[in-house]
């Protein structure tokens, strides 16, 4: 899954460790999320979205959004 986590973190000047502490996860988790090696659970995705004050779909993209738009 593609996400904008790295950009959002950079905008705030946070390190991976800062974000990990804010979310209560390991720094390795943040790295795996940013590199797309790991998809978060729904509760973690909500925590991330709330932390950045954005909607989940503004941060995470499963690549199927264009299909939804085409159907509409």
């Amino acid at each position: 899954m593609i996400n904008t986590l790295r950009e959002l973190r950079a905008e705030r000047g946070w390190s991976q460790g800062d974000l990990a502490d804010a979310l209560g996860v390991s720094r390795q988790s943040i790295n795996a999320l940013e590199t797309g090696k790991f998809d978060p659970s729904l509760p973690l995705a909500f925590r991330i979205a709330r932390l950045f004050g954005k909607g989940i779909e503004e941060i995470f993209d499963d690549g199927l959004g264009h299909m939804k738009k085409a159907a509409e």
Partner: protein, 140 residues
């Protein structure tokens, strides 16, 4: 109980793991020393010493289980994958060795070695193979 953070879960694990290992070390050396005092130790005493030696390992296994429940989801997935891989490798090794033993190709191994084999394979997978075990799920 409230959800623990990754750091809190690790701290809770270490706080219980270290005393368990101290008890294990004391039990192994103390138990061996105690049994050496007898020319032929009574079976009941040997059984008690063996169970006391094994108890801290049971505690450590439980702590590992608790850590996987309390840690963050990415670490949990890595831990569980490594544990499963270690368990499967141990099961496969036991079956292969068991058949070889059945046909007198290899000598009988102590059942005791199954535990260290599991911990070794689990540890090696966790150190060197966990990245390949945890993926983003089903790819399109």
């Amino acid at each position: 109980m409230a959800q623990l953070t990754f750091r809190e879960a690790n701290k809770r694990y270490r706080r219980a793991f270290i005393p368990a290992m101290v008890v294990y070390t004391v039990a192994v050396f103390g138990g061996s020393f105690l049994l050496k005092q007898f020319e032929t130790p009574p079976t009941w005493l040997s059984a008690i010493v063996a169970l006391i030696m094994a108890a801290p390992i049971g505690v450590v296994l439980w702590l590992m289980w608790r850590l996987t429940r309390e840690t963050d989801e990415f670490t949990r997935q890595q831990q569980m994958s490594a544990m499963a891989a270690g368990g499967l490798m141990t099961a496969f090794f036991s079956v292969v060795w068991g058949f070889l033993e059945l046909y007198n190709v290899v000598p009988a191994l102590w059942t005791f070695l199954v535990g260290p084999f599991f911990f070794l394979s689990y540890g090696l997978v966790y150190c060197f193979g966990r990245r390949s075990l945890v993926g983003p799920g089903f790819e399109k």
